[in-house]
């Protein structure tokens, strides 16, 4: 609420302090999806900045798929809502809205992140890649081509997030084993039941890149 001075949205609440209180280092926080893709310093810089913002709208510039986009957001607006509701970049999907399902996965400075669990103001100055920037129907990314070949999608609502997660996974693990694929892609959920196709698609795309 704009007129209340307590709670996570208020200037008095420091997320940096919160993380410190948990004793979470940058590596642990990144692994847990709390501070996707960033160092503690970057997060701290974003924190310093966002602490001065609000409660009303503020104008920020986001670097999305290599293009600078100006957007007005309140500090409480998530990156996901800024993308979908204000910039009409709707490939990242809103499903659980609390960092469980991965349907909103984007890349932040090349690392996968849940866009629902990051504020838009924190994303300023970071290189954001959304599904729209990974490939196009005319020029597919190898993982997208593999998703089609292995029918790794049904309703397709989890697909953009899964594709982003798979692309990031393959960058870190160019020659994964089947077991590594199964272990490494647990951060995304599908309801139609496309995991068998996704597993094959990831292994196949790794092969395309010259992997095992």
């Amino acid at each position: 609420m704009a007129d209340e001075k307590t709670g996570p949205d208020s200037p008095g609440f420091s997320r940096r302090g919160f993380l410190k209180g948990l004793g979470v280092g940058s590596a642990g926080a990144a692994a847990a999806g709390l501070m996707p893709g960033g160092t503690a310093q970057q997060a701290a810089a974003a924190e310093e900045k966002s602490a001065l913002l609000g409660p009303g709208e503020t104008s920020i510039t986001l670097n999305i798929n290599g293009e600078s986009k100006k957007v007005k957001v309140e500090p409480r607006v998530t990156l996901l809502d800024a993308l979908r509701n204000r910039l009409d970049v709707t490939g990242a999907k809103k499903v659980c809205d609390r960092g469980t399902c991965g349907a909103c996965t984007v890349l932040v400075d090349g690392q996968p992140a849940y866009a629902c669990s990051m504020l838009a103001v924190e994303a300023e100055g970071r290189a954001l890649t959304t599904i729209e920037g990974l490939g196009s129907p005319e020029e597919l990314h190898p993982i997208q081509a593999a998703f089609i070949e292995h029918d790794a999608q049904q309703c397709g609502f989890c697909t953009p997030g899964f594709v982003m997660a798979c692309a990031a996974f393959l960058k870190e693990n160019p020659n994964p084993t089947r077991e590594e694929v199964r272990r490494g892609l647990g951060g995304n959920l599908c309801r139609c039941g496309t995991y068998a196709g996704i597993t094959e698609a990831v292994l196949d795309a790794a092969g395309v890149k010259g992997g095992a």
Binding site: Q153, C155, P160, A196, T199
Partner: protein
């Protein structure tokens, strides 16, 4: 003259081949626009307000303070509920629309609703809460038969209520423009979505335009426009602005449908040979406040000579049930197959052997016999199987479990228009929808096959209520409906073209066929003209012909049919120290008649297995008896299986003349029916005792091992 029967196998260009889904690229690149993604200029965001109480009288709903918040532009309240009772937590009784999603989320708390709390009842597993006369069926003489049986086994079984958890929540965008209503919903029923809305929002049906090209999952929960659809249209009319209304995840899980629970006790009597002599069951469960149809039992073994089943409804203050992929079947299957496996174990027999001995009591004995042998071979049954009395060594026990299932799958009513244009282009228009089953691709295959052209030479337009009426996608009825109507429409259009081409080729219409991009004389293929040349003869007038699927007639023609059988076997490991169940492998062998697209047909079966693993191990709507609320209306605690949980899956589709000659039969439901039963049986085989209720959580497994289940 082309006839509508499916071409002989050797003449098929497209049917049954493994095609990539046509919208694969647009989906995997994030370009597909779902209802949730539709943003219109000046659009408002709506939020629904649900009752926090499971039972209460609504005294008043006052939106004054909410409307005073700058940016809040629309308010709706349920006039009908004021002075009356809400029947479950989450029941939607008001909504607001605001200029941003954040504002709507904030201002909804300013709506003042006064309740008088009442007593609620949400317990669904205790038969003492049952109301009304049980529905019962009694065939043969169960009492005498039980007296004659060589072995009697008795057990308790159950399966919790679960929800659909569509990744795209229910909802729509509605916009009033030039006096007409434009709606982009997430729906399984494009043609009939507007039915009833016309009265609620005072617009004639002719002025309501529905468009759904992609939808993020339905599974039986998205057949109507629902209350929120009506609210969205009312708010759009009230404010004169487009309104997006999508359920929040908590409401999605509480009020947008669930699969009824089922609990029961079953007594099975086997004769000395392992033939089932008696089946006596009592089942109960809840579908919320609405009706409750007991699951079909004895499942699959429907023709047992002596059977008695009584089913009781437990009314609860929970959101109402909806069709959930194969309504009633997974529940009936679990209870029946578990009881039969327990009877086999009590007799010291292998359950696969007992199932095989009793196939004469099923509706598809030959199919099951063939499928069980294939499935057993695929999973290595002979080497891995052991009796329940002979457990594997060590703290991690391994076991196999078997289940069989059946489904109808007859094609629904469907109409399709096919147009052949003078430039040679061909299009089908059909008011159907693609839920992710690749319906768009299947229609394209049938169309291309019929006119003898490549896939990319024909277009399918669907997903709008402006197109010919096609049925709701539920009950595995879509593939039969749309393939018959498309085949008939395309055949009719083609025959009109052949009439025009025949004089030029100097033969009778009957002597012609469309194949490989030509119109040619069947007996003398060199007497031909290209498809484009033939269409050029049309001058300026395209041909448009309609095809209509009337199930009985299409069935007589051999286009479609109903009634399939499938079998599944699960291989699991159970850690008896932690209670954790791991799926090692599952195999599914499935019949669905003539297969239109092998690749996406297999995907349906993989999907069924995976959804099945999810409800077998994790899914459960947990209700708190004290507050009447669902405790896990979010995706952390309403858990879905992840990639790591599902194990290795193998799928085998039945093909060959015996299956192919039946025509097209639906496939969406069958593969999701057996996993719960197969996995439960495998766990029992692994640890030597039955874990009575699904989901098979570590707690339930440990309780069963400790004798306290």
């Amino acid at each position: 003259m082309a006839n509508p029967q499916w071409p002989a196998v050797e003449k098929r260009q497209h049917l049954g081949k493994p095609y990539d889904r046509l919208d694969g690229a647009i989906k995997s690149t994030g370009r597909a626009k779902y209802a949730y993604d539709v943003n219109r200029p000046g659009m408002l965001w709506a939020r629904c307000i649900g009752s926090p109480h499971a039972a209460a009288k609504v005294v008043d709903i006052d939106g004054t303070d909410a409307l005073a918040v700058p940016g809040v532009e629309g308010f709706w309240r349920d006039e009908g509920v004021i002075g009356k009772e809400v029947e479950y937590a989450g029941q939607i009784i008001a909504a607001i629309a605001a200029t941003s999603e954040e504002l709507a989320a904030e201002a909804m708390h300013r709506v003042k609703i006064t309740y008088e709390k009442m007593e609620h009842q949400v317990v669904d597993n205790d038969i003492s809460f049952a109301k009304g006369r049980p529905a019962s069926r009694d065939e043969g003489d169960v009492e005498i038969a039980l007296g004659e049986a060589a072995t009697i086994s008795e057990g308790h079984y159950g399966i919790a209520a679960i929800t659909h958890c569509c990744l795209e929540a229910h909802g729509q965008v509605a916009e009033v423009r030039d006096g007409a209503m434009y709606i982009w919903p997430s729906t399984q029923n494009v043609s009939k979505y507007a039915d009833g809305l016309n009265e609620s929002v005072d617009s004639p049906l002719s002025d309501i335009h529905v468009d759904c090209q992609y939808m993020g999952g339905g599974f039986g929960s998205k057949f109507g426009h629902d209350k929120w659809g009506m609210i969205g249209c009312i708010l759009a009319k009230q404010t004169g602005k487009p309104v997006k209304i999508m359920l929040e995840r908590d409401l999605e899980l509480m009020v947008a449908g669930n699969r009824p629970s089922a609990f029961g006790t079953v007594k099975v009597g086997l004769d000395g040979e392992g033939k089932i002599h008696a089946f006596d069951a009592q089942v109960w469960g809840t579908g919320g406040g609405g009706g409750y149809r007991p699951p079909p039992m004895p499942y699959a073994f429907t023709k047992l000579p002596n059977q008695r089943v009584a089913g009781s409804r437990i009314p609860t203050n929970r959101g109402s049930q909806r069709a959930w992929r194969a309504p009633g079947h997974p529940q009936g299957c679990l209870i029946t197959m578990a009881a039969l496996a327990d009877a086999a174990a009590a007799m010291g027999m292998d359950e696969l052997e007992v199932f095989k001995k009793n196939l004469e009591y099923t509706e598809h004995p030959e199919t099951y016999a063939e499928e069980l042998d294939i499935a057993a071979e695929m999973i290595g049954y002979k080497d891995k199987a052991h009796l329940r009395s002979a457990l594997t060594d060590g703290p991690v026990k391994r076991g196999l479990g078997v289940s069989i299932h059946q489904w109808g799958g007859m094609g629904h009513p469907s109409e399709c228009d096919v147009t052949i244009h003078p430039d040679g282009s061909v299009e089908a228009k059909i008011g159907s929808q693609d839920l992710g089953t690749a319906t768009r691709t299947s229609i394209t295959i049938v169309l291309a096959e019929t006119v003898g052209l490549p896939m990319d030479a024909v277009k399918v337009k669907m997903g709008k209520n402006a197109y010919p009426v096609s049925g709701a996608s539920g009950g595995s009825t879509t593939i039969g409906g749309v393939s018959a109507s498309t085949r008939l429409a395309a055949t009719n259009a083609l025959n009109a073209l052949l009439e025009v081409a025949a004089p030029r080729l100097g033969v009778a219409v009957d002597a012609l066929e469309a194949a490989e991009g030509t119109i040619r004389e069947t007996a003398n293929p060199s007497n031909a003209m290209t498809w484009t040349e033939a269409c050029g003869l049309l001058g300026v007038s395209p041909i448009t012909k309609r095809g209509e699927n009337v199930a009985g007639e299409s069935q007589k023609m051999g286009l479609i049919d109903q009634g399939v059988g499938g079998v599944q076997i699960a291989d699991v490991s159970v850690d008896v120290e932690t209670g954790v169940v791991t799926i090692n492998e599952m195999v599914a062998v499935q019949d669905c008649g003539l297969i239109v697209n092998m690749k996406t047909a297999e995907s349906q079966v993989y999907g069924g297995l995976i959804m099945g693993v999810t409800y077998a191990l994790f899914e459960e709507c947990v209700y708190d008896a004290a507050t009447g609320r669902m405790l896990n209306p979010d995706m952390e605690f309403y858990r879905l299986a992840g990639l790591y949980d599902v194990g290795n899956l193998k799928v085998h589709m039945m093909t060959g003349p015996r299956y192919d000659s039946r025509g097209v039969i639906g496939l969406g439901e069958p593969p999701v029916i057996s996993p719960g039963a197969a996995i439960s049986n495998a766990v029992a085989n692994a640890i030597g005792v039955r874990v009575p209720e699904l989901p098979l959580t570590p707690e339930r497994v440990l309780n069963a091992l400790g004798g306290t289940a």
